[in-house]
Symmetry: C2
Subunit: 294 residues, 2 copies
DNA sequence: AATCATACATGAGGATAATTCATTAATTTC
DNA sequence: GAAATTAATGAATTATCCTCATGTATGATT
């Protein structure tokens, strides 16, 4: 019944004083406005304006409509410009899910770059999921899943972010310290510290120990990486971390890193996303930043 | 750009789940909605929703628009129903201007009836004007002017409300008490109490004393009618009031009323209004109530 | 797998509504 | 009283929206 065009006319008429000027402001003919207000008054069975000499004056009802116009039109304008910003990919919320500690640790570095590069896009990180990270992605709990595991799905695409190597960290006191590499067998007598995640989701098991059918002497699950590192320092066990994270600790604490097997265990971190999201500017940008480009 | 129809579609889609049902709810074909959406997405260069199997899911941008819809649509609905009430003459504000004390006193009685008769119309009374009451009416500071003076103007109409007689009030001790009438000459030795208004606007002068070229011995202006009455009671002067108001005091205080001249001074109270307002239901009703009808 | 049902997308054509143009009417200004 | 300004009106045009018929994709059923 009442349309935005009517509100625009009322508002323009109020600001410009005369129908003719209001018509100019709206890039329409005076006739068009005259027809429109006539139509509206007829529909509402209500005088909105009173002819006053050769001008128009709002009635009570017209004033009420003017007030509505002054509330609604700015809201619509604001929405319009916000959506324009969306279209340009400048504004939005990039919701990222991370599944593993290394992913999270790595993310914190990339996010800073991203926030700098895209000042109008906010970031939200989810690291605890109702179900799995994959399901979170499929349910649109977040837009991008950072994960080392590709589970193929025709609606999803994965972009490789970067490669890293998993290495063992042991105390400098430990007899592993200084070795070129260790074999799975050498872990059979060790205490292995990991995050509290099932062994099937830990690469040290799936990529290294399980293939050799070997289990560590003991498997202790630790929540915090800092406590885990303290335990490594005091020789209460060994742990496995991405090389770049291990390097970080090696320079600060008396711990050494050792390659897992002759060739080492190599991983790749991927950004998983819905295929229709892959072309959204800020998501593309995030992936490129994650790949070390830009 | 973004029209109410788009907001209605987004809102209906959110409430009904599928395009087809939303189309039913809006009494449109599914095709119409599909076209509208397509048009909007093309204009905004932005996906508002994503096909998900055989359903639709709102994107971030779509969600933003949904929020706007949920704010704006209720406002429009409310405005629409308020205007409908206006059209039925049920709702509004009747702004009344009064120029003289008797008018104001009389109004208070009528207003109670009006508020009872028209529960959805509010009343606002203005009794102090920037300029004259007439100008206030012409400037639309109020809708109806209650006045005893008709000043003709082609844009205004006047409806007679009721007739009254101006009478003199004097203390029961006063020698006027009990007289049939007084002549202008008899006031030449009296103290006349009036409201603080120029003599030209007081009927006792214009209708009674000026024609006889007589002035009272003294003219004292008093703000409050209660104090004025006290002064009359203690014989410090006489005053002139409408008969119905005088009767009111005669029954409570030791004062008497006396006719002014042989035939008395008769007045009529009028409701002045813009001619195009005269047909507004609640204004008509006010006039009829003022005339003692209904 | 093949079939059926459901839901959205699309193109063409027709109905509807909005806009303009040309003109008239009313009012103010000089 | 003439000129200028402003709104109203009617007819013709234009743009827009809607429906119908049909196509395409997906999911359920057998």
């Amino acid at each position: 019944m009442i349309e935005l065009s009517h509100l625009r006319i009322i508002s323009a008429l109020h600001e410009n004083g005369t129908l003719t000027e209001a018509a100019n402001a709206l890039c329409l003919s005076q006739s068009a406005l005259s027809h429109q207000i006539r139509y509206l008054e007829k529909k509402l069975e209500l005088k909105l304006w009173q002819r006053e000499g050769r001008g128009l004056r709002l009635t009570q009802a017209g004033n009420l409509l003017l007030q509505v116009a002054q509330q609604v039109l700015p809201m619509m304008d604001h929405a319009g410009s916000t959506l324009k910003a969306y279209a340009a990919g400048r504004q939005g919320i990039l919701r990222i899910g991370v599944e593993c500690y290394p992913c999270y640790e790595w993310l914190t570095g990339v996010i800073a770059d991203f926030l700098l590069a895209m000042p109008e896009v906010d970031i939200d990180i989810a690291h605890q999921f109702q179900f799995s990270g994959l399901e979170g992605l499929l349910n649109h709990q977040f837009d991008v899943l950072v994960t080392p595991d590709i589970i193929s799905n025709k609606t999803l695409v994965y972009a490789p972010l970067f490669d890293y190597e998993l290495v063992l960290l042991a105390s400098k006191e430990h007899l592993f310290a200084g070795l070129e590499m260790i074999t799975p067998e050498m872990l059979a007598t060790e205490v292995l510290l990991t995050f509290p995640v099932p062994a099937e989701r830990l690469d040290i098991f799936t990529q290294f120990l399980f293939p050799a059918s070997i289990a560590p002497a003991q498997h202790k699950q630790i929540q915090s990486i800092d406590i885990m590192m303290q335990m490594v320092v005091y020789n209460r066990g060994v742990c496995v971390l991405p090389d770049w994270l291990a390097d970080n600790y090696c320079s600060k604490l008396p711990v050494s890193k050792v390659r897992l097997g002759r060739k080492g265990v190599h991983k790749t971190l991927f950004a998983g996303m819905h295929c229709y999201d892959a072309e959204i500017p800020y998501i593309k940008r995030f992936v490129r930043l994650g790949q070390g480009l830009d």
